[in-house]
């Protein structure tokens, strides 16, 4: 230990993200439907999802299990089995149409244009191959280079994601890495071909908070360096608040709210978003009671008529007639604010939020 000990902790503050407006969309999803035919009927996992994302921005997709957030993202990567999945609509990544792309084209598309990081680094890395083997395989699939050059690239990438002593680590097996290090290696593998789109599917859910903080910083730093578009799938609204530019709230296969993160989390306009916020115990402020959404998410085999959220919605009585049960609302701007959309029939949702929901947030 050195005599000159530092008595102040090393700290980081996540600075507010710079707005990048008016850029062309790199990822464009329009009217995406994903269905899985099963013996019990059609599972309607995604029902008409549309959004776009320019380079340099982070979109967080939030929702509970079965809301379609992972299924829609796997469709972007072309990871669904063609035989057992029915996909319609369009997904354009950098101008290339992914829906219906041939397997051969997908092989060159995956990794080079878009890459994905999965939740569980333990099961997404092959236990029989060294970390270096797995990264170089991905690099050589897209670049005609020697093994030696690919390994140098792998070492470089491991260094960039903050793995100490990468030249030694590159020859180690996944079991020799800790959970946080494995996730770093996964990120290195995803970014080795400089993809312009990175999809992170719950990348920090399996990690401890201090490690999660490191990984979130890393993804944000790399995004700044590479200028890529990031789709971040999570159920943790705290994470969303800190790292995302935009947020898309999904419920039972539908997008129910979409817009800039400070607006959606600051004054959400959809009762489902309210329910999510009211379910999360905060780490600061006065602890209050939780108001969870009653019931459980609907079965994707037998979707409710009208608004998919109406059976669990405590505000459905406020909407005139039988509208919530009969007519599915459109995803449209609901207030004077044009930068955001919401899928709900409720009148003046901003006022309802301020007067009724905001005071009881935990």
């Amino acid at each position: 230990m050195t005599e000159q000990t530092v008595r102040a902790p090393q700290t980081v503050t996540r600075t507010p993200r710079a707005r990048r407006e008016g850029e062309d969309a790199y990822l464009e999803v329009s009217d995406l439907h994903v269905q899985f035919p099963t013996a019990d009927g059609k599972v309607q996992a995604v029902q008409g999802l549309s959004y776009s994302l320019p380079l340099g921005r982070t979109l967080a997709i939030v929702g509970e299990s079965g809301s379609g957030k992972s299924v829609s993202s796997m469709a972007i990567m072309g990871l669904h089995d063609r035989k057992s999945t029915w996909i319609s609509g369009s997904i354009k990544v950098g101008g290339k149409e992914v829906v219906g792309m041939s397997e051969k084209d997908l092989m060159s598309f995956r990794g080079a244009d878009a890459a994905m990081i999965f939740q569980d680094p333990q099961s997404s890395l092959h236990p029989f191959f060294t970390i270096g083997d797995q990264i170089t395989e991905s690099y050589r699939a897209h670049h005609n280079v020697s093994k030696r050059a690919a390994k140098a690239r792998a070492i470089d990438m491991l260094g960039r994601v903050g793995i100490p002593n990468p030249a030694r680590r590159v020859d180690q097996y996944p079991h020799e890495f800790s959970g946080g290090m494995r996730q770093r290696a996964m990120i290195a593998m995803a970014l080795v071909n400089d993809p312009k789109l990175l999809i992170a599917d719950e990348p920090t859910t399996a990690l401890d908070v201090t490690v999660q903080a490191q990984i979130l910083d890393l993804i944000a730093d790399l995004q700044r360096d590479f200028g890529s578009a990031v789709v971040f799938i999570t159920h943790d609204l705290g994470v969303v608040a800190e790292i995302a530019d935009d947020i898309l709230v999904m419920c039972a296969g539908n997008a129910v709210e979409h817009g800039p993160v400070d607006k959606i989390l600051g004054t959400p306009l959809h009762p489902y978003s309210w329910g999510l916020l009211e379910s999360i115990p905060a780490v600061s402020g006065t602890p209050g009671p939780l108001h969870p959404i009653p019931g459980s998410p609907p079965s994707l085999l037998a979707m409710p008529s009208g608004c998919a959220f109406h059976p669990r919605c405590e505000f459905r009585e406020r909407v005139g007639g039988d509208l919530c049960r009969t007519l599915k609302p459109e995803l449209i701007p609901r207030t004077a604010d044009q930068g955001r959309t919401s899928r709900c029939h409720l009148k003046e949702p901003d006022k309802v939020f301020e007067t009724e929901v905001l005071p009881r947030l935990p």
Partner: protein, 352 residues
């Protein structure tokens, strides 16, 4: 303390005036085989290494820490699914640490466990009625004739349809299964429930439902809880007191508000600062986050002295040579650190 020992009808002995549960310097070391062909040099994983905790009747103690810190091992020691290597586990003043299975039987009734994973903790071949009924029968809670009505009563208490007693676990959702696990724990009318990450596997809206259920049960039945979770928001919501663990030791223990507002141990401060806070969108300035370098050391070969010193920015020579004891640094606040002090600025952001 008086030494009068009473024996209840159930066979549970108790010392008058003793706290409900007391762990005194409890250690749990697991043996691992050494490296190499000859497996020389047996090593010991010091999963729990000198934990002392007290839980009063009706109180809720939260246990937080990162994976591998020994929270779950502590839960298994309290419920005596493991026999500790050293130390005392006193239930109402009586040491149960080395009791035989037969002697333990009455105590098992009063100390119940709720598991994390609602999928693997219920037998898929048994109906809900059998699962909850087994707990009733094992402890002789009700006469055979009254079993079904008691099962239905319990299902109703945890918010399930009492008519569903003859269904199997796969017919229920994750949140409902966790309720079945809670009903099973309640069947024995316990005085203390050890809940090991009871809501971690659930979706946020379901998580909030189960938390509200646990809170109502606690208020109505006066059950004490040892609540283990890694989600600091959940623990803050549910617990009266919180103990923070790091590498097999308790590093800080304090009433909830003290711990969250004025944490004194550097690890607690780092842990709290790492939690992403949704308040940033409501205009609260982003908080300073303490960046911890490196990984948690191995519990096979923990650092000398203070176990946190390898990642601590305050570490001095004394930290390597002297193990800081867990001692009172402020009213009700015990901290194991040579340089304990409240954060200079409030690290935990205040709501405006």
């Amino acid at each position: 303390m008086t030494t009068a020992t009473n024996t209840a009808k159930s066979g549970v002995r108790s010392v008058e005036g003793a706290p409900l549960l007391e762990l005194d310097d409890v250690k749990m070391h697991f043996r691992t085989k050494g490296d190499g062909l000859l497996a020389r040099g047996t090593k010991w994983v010091q999963a729990v290494d000198g934990v002392s905790l007290t839980v009063q009747s009706g109180e809720t103690l939260g246990l937080v820490g990162e994976s591998g810190c020994g929270k779950s091992t502590t839960a298994r020691l309290i419920t005596r699914l493991l026999e500790p290597t050293a130390g005392q586990i006193k239930y109402q003043g009586v040491d149960i640490a080395h009791m035989s299975e037969r002697q333990l039987r009455p105590y098992r009734r009063e100390i119940q466990l709720i598991f994390q994973d609602p999928y693997s903790s219920l037998n898929p071949r048994h109906t809900v009625g059998t699962i909850v009924g087994t707990a009733l029968r094992t402890h002789g809670m009700v006469p055979k004739a009254g079993e079904l009505s008691r099962v239905q009563e319990l299902l109703e208490v945890v918010g399930l349809n009492p008519e569903h007693y003859n269904r199997y676990p796969h017919e229920f959702s994750g949140g409902q299964r966790q309720r079945i696990g809670i009903a099973r724990a309640l069947a024995a009318r316990p005085k203390i429930i050890v809940a090991d990450e009871p809501v971690s596997a659930l979706d946020v809206s379901i998580q909030a439902q189960v938390m509200n259920l646990l809170e109502n049960l606690r208020k109505e039945l006066g059950i004490a809880f040892v609540f283990i979770a890694h989600d600091l928001g959940v623990v803050r919501h549910f617990c009266d007191r919180v103990a923070v663990m790091y590498l097999g030791r308790v590093v800080e223990e304090a009433p909830r508000d003290t711990l969250y507002e004025r944490p004194q141990h550097p690890y607690t401060q780092a842990l709290l600062s790492a939690v992403p806070d949704i308040a940033v969108v409501r205009g609260v300035p982003p908080k300073q986050r303490i960046r911890l370098v490196g990984d948690v050391p191995s519990p096979v070969d923990p650092p000398s002295g203070c176990r946190f010193r390898t990642r601590c920015w305050k570490a001095q020579d004394i930290c390597a040579t002297q193990d800081p004891p867990l001692e009172q640094k402020a009213p009700h606040q015990d901290v194991a650190c040579h340089f304990a002090e409240p954060p200079v600025e409030s690290i935990v952001a205040e709501v405006v």
